[in-house]
C-alpha cells in the first residue's frame, strides 16, 4: 500500500492490484459504518486505487490507514443482481473471434462468470465489472461509436459494463438488456455500486441454446 497526497484535502491510496483495491474499499466502508473513520466526503475506488476526498488532515489519515490489517475480499452472503441479457450485440462475432470461440459460446462464457463492480465512472451508474479471466481480454474498438444505445452490454480489457444511457463509447458490444441501470428518481438511483455482485442471465433465442442454471 502506498499513499499519495492529492492537493490539500485528498489522499490517493494505491494498492498492488484490483483485488486489493476492492478489499481496501470494503474495509473503508466497514470502518466508516462503525464510526472508526474520520469524516470523508467522497470515497472513490478505481482500478487499483481508492481516492479519499474532502478530508481534514490527509497526512494523519495516511498514517491511520497504513496501519490497517485489511482482510482479503471474500464472497459474502449478499444477494447477486441478475441482469437479463440478449446476447446479440453488433460486436459479438468480433469478440468471439478474439476469444477463439463460436459466437454462441460468448453468451455461455460471459454468463458463466460472477462479476463484481470494481468501481464506477464514465457516466452515472456505469460500473466497471471485474471477473472475466485475463485470457478473455479484448481491446477497445479502434474507432469509438458516436452513439451506443442505452442498455448495451459491452466488454473492453477484462472489464464488462452496461451503458446506463445512450452515449459515445468505444467498448465492444456483445448484448443488450432492458434493465434500468440509472434512475435518479429511484432510491438508490444506481443499480450497481462498487462491491455489488452481478450475474448476466441469457434471455431470448440465445437462452435456449445456452440454458439457464
Amino acid at each position: 500500500m502506498r499513499t499519495l497526497p492529492v492537493g490539500e484535502r485528498a489522499l490517493l491510496v494505491e494498492l498492488g492490484n484490483g483485488e486489493e483495491a476492492q478489499a481496501f474499499h470494503a474495509e473503508l466502508l466497514r470502518r466508516r459504518a462503525s464510526g472508526a473513520l474520520p469524516p470523508v466526503r467522497e470515497i472513490v475506488p478505481a482500478a487499483r486505487t481508492v481516492l479519499l476526498d474532502g478530508v481534514e488532515d490527509p497526512g494523519r489519515l495516511a498514517a491511520l490507514v497504513s496501519g490497517w490489517q485489511v482482510e482479503p475480499q471474500h464472497a459474502r452472503a449478499e444477494p447477486v443482481v441478475d441482469i437479463p441479457v440478449r446476447y446479440d450485440g453488433p460486436d459479438l462475432a468480433v469478440v468471439a473471434a478474439l476469444w477463439g470461440v463460436e459466437p454462441d459460446d460468448v453468451a455461455r462464457i460471459h454468463a458463466g462468470v460472477e462479476f463484481r463492480v470494481a468501481f464506477c465512472g464514465f457516466a452515472p451508474g456505469f460500473g466497471y465489472l471485474t471477473g472475466l479471466p485475463a485470457r478473455y481480454e479484448v481491446p477497445r474498438r479502434s474507432t469509438p461509436r458516436t452513439a451506443v444505445p442505452a442498455g448495451s452490454v459491452a466488454v473492453a480489457g477484462t472489464y464488462t459494463g452496461v451503458y446506463p444511457r445512450s452515449s459515445p463509447g468505444g467498448w465492444q458490444l456483445i448484448g443488450n438488456t432492458d434493465v434500468v441501470l440509472w434512475d435518479p428518481a429511484r432510491e438508490p438511483a444506481a443499480l450497481l455500486s462498487p462491491g455489488t455482485r452481478v450475474r448476466f442471465v441469457p434471455e431470448g433465442p440465445a437462452a435456449r441454446s445456452v440454458g439457464r442454471r
Binding site: L4, P5, R48, L51, G121, P124, P184, A189
Partner: protein
Amino acid sequence: MNDRAFAVVRAGALTTVQDLGRSGHAHLGVPRSGALDPYASRLVNRLVGNPDDAAVLETTVNGCAVRPRCAVTVAVGGAPCPVTVNGRPVAWGAAVRVPAGAVLEAGAAVRGVRSYLAFAGGVAAEPVLGSRSTDLLSGLGPAPLRDGAVLPLGPPPSAAARFEAAPWAAPPRELVLRVRLGPRHDWFTAAALRTFATRRYRVSPASNRIGLRTEGPALVRAVPGELPSEGMVLGAVQVPPDGRPVVFLADHPTTGGYPVVAVVRDEDLAAAAQATPGTPVRFLPLG
C-alpha cells in the same frame, strides 16, 4: 400573472441553474457540479436574503434575460455586466426589485465570463440527488435554459439580506494558480516539471464547465503507457496525450486515466472560472 416563476426571454450562450453541487456521489460516477464561481453565487444569494445553497442562474459570456411573473428581489453578480429592468439601467452587485412582468436583463460580461443571477426564494427547479445544479458532463439536473422556458421560484426568504453591496475581486489579467504537485508528477520528466512551474500558458477557448484547457508548451512524460483509471478531484491538473494541462472544474469526470501532475487550490478555481480565453496562466507550485 402572479405565480412564483419566471420565463426565459433570452437564454444567452449557455445559462444553467447552479447551487453548491451534489457531492457524495462520486463513487457512482456522478460529478459534483455546482457554481463554477461559488464566491459569486454565495454573494448574490446573500444580497437577496437567500441561504448560500439556494439555486441561482450562471450565465456564460453574454448574459441572459428573464421575465418574472411575480414581483421579486434579484441580484446580479460575478462577471460585471450591464443590468437593466425593462431597458432601464439598475445596479449590478446589489439587490434590485423587479416588478411582475418586467424584463430583467444581464448583458454581456464586461470582464470575466460568468455572471450570477439570484432571485429571492431561489430557482426551485426539481432537485436531483439533493442538488438543482445542471451537470453538463452527465446531463443531470435541469436542462440549460432555452428561450420561452418557465422555471419556478421558491417561497421568498424570511431572512433579511445580510448586506447591501457585494465586494468582488475583478478577474485577474494573469491567472496565477497555486498548485500542490502530485499525485502523478513522477510520470513527467524533470524538464517538464520545470516547464510547468515556469512557463506561461494561455486559457484555451475550448474551456468549459468540465475543464479549463490551456495552450502552451507540452509536458513530456517520463513514463509511457496508460495509467489505470483513478479517482479525480476538483482542481486536478490532468495532462492528456497532447501534453497541455487541463484544470478540472465542477463538472469534471469522477475517474480518469491521464496522469494528474498537480492539484490547484480550491480558493483559486473561482478566478479560473472567470478567466477569458487568451488570459495568461501560470502554475505556481507550493512547497
